[in-house]
Subunit: 195 residues, 2 copies
């Protein structure tokens, strides 16, 4: 359970698996903020991994809202289910399968998170651009330069507003025997757009 | 007005003055998340600048909570008041004066933000450590290496738990005549601790 109103559940509160990625706390918080959520919203979490974005979203949209958590990896879906149970969340539906097929079956969304979608990100953004409501937000977390380029090129062609490209680089402290050092994490680029 | 539940009001929504600093959107969102806020909380915003942290906090703690926004710069207090009016916020009290004197007059806090406090940060953290409730969070935004060192040294002596040191470096895109470049901002280190 998370008893606070603010997003930002510490990473260590989630059940984890080495093979399943998690959107880490600080990057997750920025992504959630870029989605601009409200109670009652319909949200997709495409490439849900450990389910951390789904769980933070579920808190923000409350029981009147609904999250669809999609992943093609059954280990990710199982882990997401475990975390949903751990946090006492009942407004998230998990969907095992290829997002490119599953998206068409979902109701229109107010906000969509896309991440961890390998080489298909551009196609998934394109599909989501037809499922997001007017005024809704798409938030894409990107690691690969190739994905960043292809999504930027796609967005130039689509009719979106408020295009925001933010690169986030986080370092966290570690105690050594002689002091405190900063340990770097990889930069993540977050693209967010309004339909 | 901000109609969303999530923090992360775009910087351009705030009234600004060149001489008064603002905690920019992404860093602000991480700071708000580290404070772990709830409705009903009492919050200090020490060195409130443009008031952006006060306003985001006010949304999270709702009308049952209270923010005390302190700054020694009358321009900052005036600007904060303007922003409070713009966002229709009524649960923030602004206090013009030296935080080192004003803190003693405030009720105990559930969460305290400290930033933009020049060379006094260490002393202010020390004063705040006596005003924060057990389980409450202090979140310190730091730019200067000297401040980072002095606050870290102080924290070693105080009896706090969940010490988190996170450096956040943000870059934002800018369109040039030939493409999209990333523009770097200065790193900010956020120290957060639980009493």
């Amino acid at each position: 359970m998370w008893n606070f109103k603010t997003p930002g559940i510490p990473d260590e509160e989630f059940e984890r698996l080495e093979e399943v990625p998690i959107t880490k706390e600080e990057v997750r918080v920025v992504q959630i903020s870029k989605a601009r959520l409200k109670p009652g919203y319909t949200v997709y979490d495409i490439g849900c991994g450990s389910g951390s974005i789904s769980i933070e979203s579920a808190h923000q949209i409350e029981s009147s809202g609904k999250v669809y958590a999609v992943d093609f990896d059954s280990k990710a879906i199982e882990l997401t289910k475990k975390n949903l149970e751990k946090f006492g969340i009942s407004n998230v539906t998990t969907i095992l399968g290829n997002a490119k097929e599953k998206i068409s079956e979902l109701p229109e969304a107010d906000a969509i998170f896309i991440g961890g979608t390998g080489g298909d990100t551009k196609e998934i953004v394109e599909l989501c651009s037809n499922k997001i409501k007017s005024g809704g937000r798409i938030v894409i977390g990107i690691i690969l330069i190739e994905t960043l380029f292809s999504v930027l090129e796609l967005i130039k062609k689509l009719n979106f507003s408020n295009v925001d490209v933010t690169q986030v680089t986080i370092s966290k402290s570690r105690k050594t025997s002689t002091g405190t050092m900063m340990l770097a994490r990889n930069p993540v680029t977050i693209i967010s757009i309004t339909k």
